[in-house]
């Protein structure tokens, strides 16, 4: 057995699992009320207030989880038992810490565990759910609408017409260009690492700093209208208001350059942040986008208190990888052209 795995399992994963089990009452409570999207479990806890009277969401939080967005097709229930969930988490942690096979494409990578980047080495916000999607009830994305299918085909064709993935910097994925990642959203979902957020509140505003890409959403609460429809932004136009203990954030004005799970620029997102315990925010979101899906869908993700500081993820500053990738692609093209020329005119 892999020695490093043993170290991880004995030294890190198990303590993480113990912490993780201690978080269960919150998830269990959600389970007992059945639906999870209701505010029932929030009634047990009243968040402290900021000086200007807002429910206090401030602090550093993480949404790191092994729970997948969509439920696996061979899982039919909404929640695992604690034992099952623990087993699932252990397996996921082991899988993430697994070493790659030399000479394979996944092996061309640094080792996550050497840098503390596998999730089990950091704070986790685990839960008993088998998927983050809570509606539709099967825990899976709804089918694409007819327009959604057409748009998906058009996007694929457009990608193809732009040439290879490394032909131009514009062809590189948004993440590789340090523009946007899934942690930034919206909606904000965990990736493999750097899943930390800081919330600060001021009179009339809530600010959410996302660790990954060091991106900030400053959400006005004064009821101002959204940006004009012709103004489109990577993370949209977002406006917030309080409904009791819950911060509700509506986001529109997105761009079709960013496709969340294949969404369109018409996506309308409603996020709900409710502090359900001293150390837990329940983050829920609903996606409405008839241009993509046949029906709206919703997900729920716990955020757990984490420690700071958050180091600035100044992605552009150190993104040597983008340069190396493009230079590498040009070097390969040059080699290929030279070989082709040699074949044409052998001496």
């Amino acid at each position: 057995m892999n020695h490093r795995f043993l170290v991880l399992l004995s030294g890190l994963v198990v303590p993480a699992a113990v912490t993780w089990l201690s978080t269960m009452p919150v998830a269990g409570q959600a389970r007992s009320v059945g639906a999870t999207t209701s505010g029932s479990s929030a009634k047990a806890y009243t968040a402290p207030r900021t000086p200007d009277g807002q429910p206090d969401l401030q602090g550093i939080w993480t949404n790191a989880t092994y729970t997948p967005l969509e439920r696996s097709k061979d899982v039919t229930k909404e929640f695992y038992t604690r034992e099952e969930a623990l087993e699932v988490a252990k397996r996921a942690a082991a899988q993430e810490a697994e070493q790659t096979e030399p000479g394979t494409v996944p092996d061309v990578h640094y080792d996550f565990t050497q840098f503390g980047l596998d999730r089990s080495q950091g704070a986790m916000a685990s839960n008993l759910r088998t998927s983050l999607i809570v509606d539709p009830p099967d825990g899976r994305l709804p089918p694409l609408s007819a327009e959604g299918q057409r748009r998906a085909a058009e996007r694929a064709a457009a990608r193809k017409s732009r040439g290879g993935p490394h032909d131009a910097v514009q062809n590189e994925p948004l993440g590789a260009r340090c523009i946007l990642m899934d942690r930034n959203g919206p909606p904000m979902l965990a990736g493999a690492y750097n899943n930390t957020y800081q919330i600060m509140q001021a009179p009339g505003y809530v600010m959410i700093l996302t660790e990954m890409l060091h991106d900030v959403r400053i959400i006005p609460l004064d009821g101002r209208p959204h940006l004009p429809p012709n103004v489109r932004q990577w993370t949209g136009s977002y406006r917030g208001h309080w409904e009791g203990q819950t911060l509700v954030v509506e986001t529109t004005n997105l761009t079709d350059k960013f496709a969340f799970q294949g969404s369109s620029e018409n996506m309308r997102l409603t996020e709900r942040f409710t502090r359900v315990a001293e150390d837990t925010i329940r983050y829920q979101f609903t996606v409405e986008d008839p241009s993509t899906w046949t029906r709206p869908w919703s997900a729920e993700v716990p955020w757990k208190k984490d420690s700071g500081p958050i180091f600035e993820h100044a992605c552009h500053e150190g993104n040597y990888g983008l340069y190396n990738t493009l230079v590498g692609a040009r070097a390969e093209e040059k080699r290929a052209a030279e070989e082709a020329a040699k074949k044409k005119s052998p001496k």
Binding site: V108, G175, G191, T325, G328
Partner: protein, 138 residues
């Protein structure tokens, strides 16, 4: 060292595509799978920068000439949270680095494995806060 572990089925259903290695870019596009290397180097600088950290090593080539290699590693954010600083790994630390060289053929590579002179794999993560904190080792 690279033994693979048999995953024992537990009948819970194959959950989780745990998405083991999600980086912010495709490393196989930056580095050449056909150019694996194994180098012995002396650390001269560790850039704890994002999106990925870079180690600088002095490496003696086959003629004895010292050349500089840059080795790409992981985002430092989680390490910084755990108290690791750029001084945690002392300049002058000797390491054996296995990895894959940049596609443009320059002295850059991804550090697939960083092993200390005494044979321990570099492990900067979970034990960073332990009382007997040492640079690397697990």
């Amino acid at each position: 060292m690279r033994m693979r572990r048999a995953v024992v089925g537990v009948g819970i259903g194959l959950l989780l595509a745990a998405a083991p290695v999600i980086a912010h870019h495709a490393f196989s596009a930056e580095f050449d799978i056909n150019k694996p290397f194994k180098l012995r180097g002396t650390l001269t600088k560790w850039e704890m920068i994002n999106p990925h950290s870079w180690f600088h090593f002095d490496v003696k080539d086959e003629t004895g000439t010292v050349v500089t290699w840059m080795i790409e590693g992981g985002s430092p954010n989680q390490l910084i949270k755990q108290g690791v600083t750029k001084h945690t790994l002392a300049v002058g630390t000797e390491m054996v680095i296995e990895g894959y060289q940049a596609k443009d053929g320059t002295n850059k590579g991804v550090g697939r494995d960083l092993v200390l002179a005494d044979g321990r794999r570099l492990f900067l993560g979970g034990e960073a806060n332990s009382s007997d904190k040492k640079p690397g080792g697990k």
